[in-house]
Symmetry: C2
Subunit: 675 residues, 2 copies
Amino acid sequence: MAPSISDIIREAAALSVSPAPTKAARPHPLDNLSVEEINRACSIAKAKRPDERLWIKVCSLREPVKKELAPFLEAERRGETAPRPTREADVLFFVLSSRGLYEVVIDLDAGEETLCTKVDGHHAPLDREEINQARAALFKDPVYIKTVEDLKLPPGTTIVPQGWPFGSDHPDPAIRRVFFILYHRNPANDHPDSNHYAFPLPVVMFWDLWESKVTDVHWCYTGNEQDGMTLGTGPKEYPTQGCQGNDYEPSLNGVTVRTDLKPLHVTQPEGVSFKVTGQLIEWQKWRFRIGFNYREGPTLHDVCYDGRPVFYRLSLSEMHVPYADPRPPLHLKQVFDFGDIDEGGSFARGVAHPQYFDGAEVNPSGEGRVVKNVICCHEQDNGILWKHTNTPTGRAAVTRQRLLVLQTIITVGNYDYIFAWHFDQAGAIHLESRATGILSTGPINVGKKSPYGTVVSPGVLGTSHQHFINLRIDPCVDGHNNTITQDDVVPDPPSAENGHGIGFRVKSTPITVSGFADANPLANRSFKIVSATGLVPHPSQMRLAAPDAHITSRAPFTQHHIWVTSYRDGELFCAGQYTNQSRGTAGGIADWVARKDNVENTDLVLWHTFALTHIPRVEDFPVMPVEIHTISLKPNNFFTANPALDVPLSSQAFNQSSTVDGDSAATPCCAGNGL
Amino acid sequence: MAPSISDIIREAAALSVSPAPTKAARPHPLDNLSVEEINRACSIAKAKRPDERLWIKVCSLREPVKKELAPFLEAERRGETAPRPTREADVLFFVLSSRGLYEVVIDLDAGEETLCTKVDGHHAPLDREEINQARAALFKDPVYIKTVEDLKLPPGTTIVPQGWPFGSDHPDPAIRRVFFILYHRNPANDHPDSNHYAFPLPVVMFWDLWESKVTDVHWCYTGNEQDGMTLGTGPKEYPTQGCQGNDYEPSLNGVTVRTDLKPLHVTQPEGVSFKVTGQLIEWQKWRFRIGFNYREGPTLHDVCYDGRPVFYRLSLSEMHVPYADPRPPLHLKQVFDFGDIDEGGSFARGVAHPQYFDGAEVNPSGEGRVVKNVICCHEQDNGILWKHTNTPTGRAAVTRQRLLVLQTIITVGNYDYIFAWHFDQAGAIHLESRATGILSTGPINVGKKSPYGTVVSPGVLGTSHQHFINLRIDPCVDGHNNTITQDDVVPDPPSAENGHGIGFRVKSTPITVSGFADANPLANRSFKIVSATGLVPHPSQMRLAAPDAHITSRAPFTQHHIWVTSYRDGELFCAGQYTNQSRGTAGGIADWVARKDNVENTDLVLWHTFALTHIPRVEDFPVMPVEIHTISLKPNNFFTANPALDVPLSSQAFNQSSTVDGDSAATPCCAGNGL
């Protein structure tokens, strides 16, 4: 039998508690936990349980409650000092002897555990080591071995199992499990970087994480719609025989690389325009702190413009990806990419002068380690910012737009997501998301088609799916008491004033009680925070699953674009704290709006769910060109004029551009129309 | 009295016909008319009417009919020769003695006029000289002089009249006119580049263009909603006394310019990657011809990817901007920015190595002249193109995205529009539009508010409005017989197959008869051209004017996002050939769809109307930060794999980027989640 999960926990080197940092080195309350703090927090939790072995799942900064942090930040902005909030860590772990799951709070200042809660009715998120160990154990599982033998693949075929969080509708919620979808390497090269998604095997194995064994083997439906629920319509032996290599890696796919692309260099000869002090970033009147945690990735705090606060905290709250194919077992593909697992790192090439931020993570033994380059900070040019040609004189005034970009890339199995916060010079913040990577594929008999996806390679179904992303906006527009209005543009009815039938106006409706709302681009709907910051929700298709489907209850946040809740500390994750194998019972946004709290002129949170319904194209395989979405938070009568009025006019001396023919200056010319 | 319009037509230097070009120099059938060809075409038209004086409004390439041009282009692509279509010019002019408007066709090969049509029931577009002359005459008009005297502005105040096309609902359609809105310069500097839109005077003058005189003076409503239709609520003497200077020009506004922005240089040390041969552009497997005319600006022709045709012609068909304030006379602000007037030039700074294309225009005397730099062609970096990290090995493969950009800037009175066609390396074409420039403002009494706009400066109402832009797509996806489908994503009903309620699929409906359709982002609606090229319509709010409003009948294209018509030569302008003072009688898209032609598997045209409903922000004044919209035309199962698979992987050696700390290589790092 495979080793049980407890066998592979390494003993911590020592159970002695690490020392507290010296006063001089005290971190900012929003600084990420350092490796030393992670080690110290875990050692405190372990020291309290000297007879137990723990599997540490999470060790992360417990952000101070707002009533302590907000005054600290306000004093800091004024150059004053205020009481420093207690430095705390959240630690989540299994006690292996009992398989119990515990959340504890560690006071890092006092060096003690101050709260311990046993978590019942929920499953811990998966972690990398857990999956790696399960995969290693799978290869030795007799059920797995027999099943693979029966597939009669050519000798030497290398199987690549992909573990997925279990989109559970299992009657026994207590079983902690994943399921493995099996692929194999391209037999033509057997290279570890070959695209195994071009060789999907029609078999899925359920894996019990605690017992470390295969519990069920399921064959997949591989026919077309006419074959309906008929299993076994495809070949049982060497079912991927009709598949073909379809590699994205240039060294493997034999594709001749383009040679006609000339280099394009971006340089900043005088250096960058931003200033980084620890986790504080200052650029072009913006000032904010950046954080990073295992779940949300980058977080933005205390975002101010020209000394005026705008946002208390900005973050990505959750990402949920359900697939369209309802035929078991692949109906289980419904992952919470943030809650079930964790975010990852970042890198960039081709930008001028990036500055990288590191993160830190914990391993199951409670040891911290630096994760390099999780956030990339750099500047970009973004074309024209504002421009006007004054026709009477022909004088053209034009400025170019510079962006400050904070980019993180996460790889979630097959997919890669690039999230970037863009700060601009006109007071707006944009969240750009780019979806790339590889489609999650399933098997389909050669020659068949399925309504649930696109055949992207022989025998390969790129399954349709939705990506739901929730943006959490904790505003602080000149203060913590905010109100959200829903603003539609409506035609005026006929009247004496509107005799020509052309009048229209804004109909602004405040949201007074916690609840939800929907995008309506055809009404030009936007949402305003105290009439000063505007959000036009991305008008994407919401969940396609039935209202009474199991999956719908797991992710109520996918039903509406906009949610408004009253602020409470710790309410960060719209699908609940625990999403892995959730069964619709996790506390989340549906519960919070059900409080029917007042949200007018008070501390509130605005949540925006946007989605990409992805019907794969053949062009999305074997690797997908980026699909780009952008959400903007723009000032709206917050300033008294265009805040970018003081951006210097664009000049050739500054930009150093030249024409193809080598002329140093591009002559401004605006023929205009002379009106 | 002011001089009549015929007084200021200069005599053409000679009426002799210019010679035809030599055979060696024969232009491509899609080349713009040269200055010589313009001179020749006009001289032919004038020579035919030796006793008349003409006011030439338009002299532009008459593109060959498709049945002649398409075989020519196809042969050209195959490296063969085919019969060359006749080289023709469209010339539009007034005969001044009769004020008659004529369209003639000039055969430039034969040197003769082949068609002459008298245009009745329509008004010619305005031109720059016409407006300039009208403005000059206005200053001498006794009604104008008396009205301005009565305003009792401080001595030395410089009035800036802005002429507008007349959004006519006048009972006499025969009167050719404009209306002038009056502003004045900032009295504090009296500078010709001061922002006169911060000083709107509450008076509008109607101007008869033929009689060259003021016919009516209208006072504007300047109260709030409670004041309703009560005229004269504001001060009659020095009505702009409460206004304040609000200049965008840095040398005038006293704003301290930011000094903390460091230069960012873009260079291409080995030159650009694109190749230009006349008006033919080749870049990264794309090959197309670019044209430029007075009305549409840039046009794209014979757009091919890797030798396969995709589009026969892409263009902007019309832009229409109606304003929200229904109170006369400002209800007349409803301009057709392309049809009423004409497009203009372009320039760019801060891009690496632009190449400029020139255009040519004609003056009223029939003389051609080069307009420099109307299109700017350059490359841009656009971040990551595709990327995947293979978790088992940690290998990250990443490419950066290069764009080819063709940018044109037009200034239409107060507004400036930046239109850019972006070609990418993954087979997609994007139209980016940026709206900037200055709000069209109206007067409002200090202290009042209006539902029809935003007070953006004291006494200044930035009036709400809509911008409607129509994109004309003449597809040729591997051939001229195309079909459009409307693709929605719909949930599966409950069934044995959909036992978990999660199934969804694409419902694809072909459009068989010419007609219209609407965007529906909440159904993930897209439109496909022969299932091979996808367009997701921009889901913008359509016309807010009442269905029976005069303005609605002038611009039916603003009622729906998508229109499909059968192809007919010459049907280029969705609001009709003649929009100036149109009264809903112009032939346009509503007439063409009413033919109820078959549009299945035939030569068809797809038209997309998108809009920006602009409720001004204070931040949009005195000059507006760009508001960006992008429309994409993407391959959809046109290729057999990601067409950008052959883009070379991003490397530090190629990009030459370095970190802030000076490290030469940005280490790829993807912590990932290990699944």
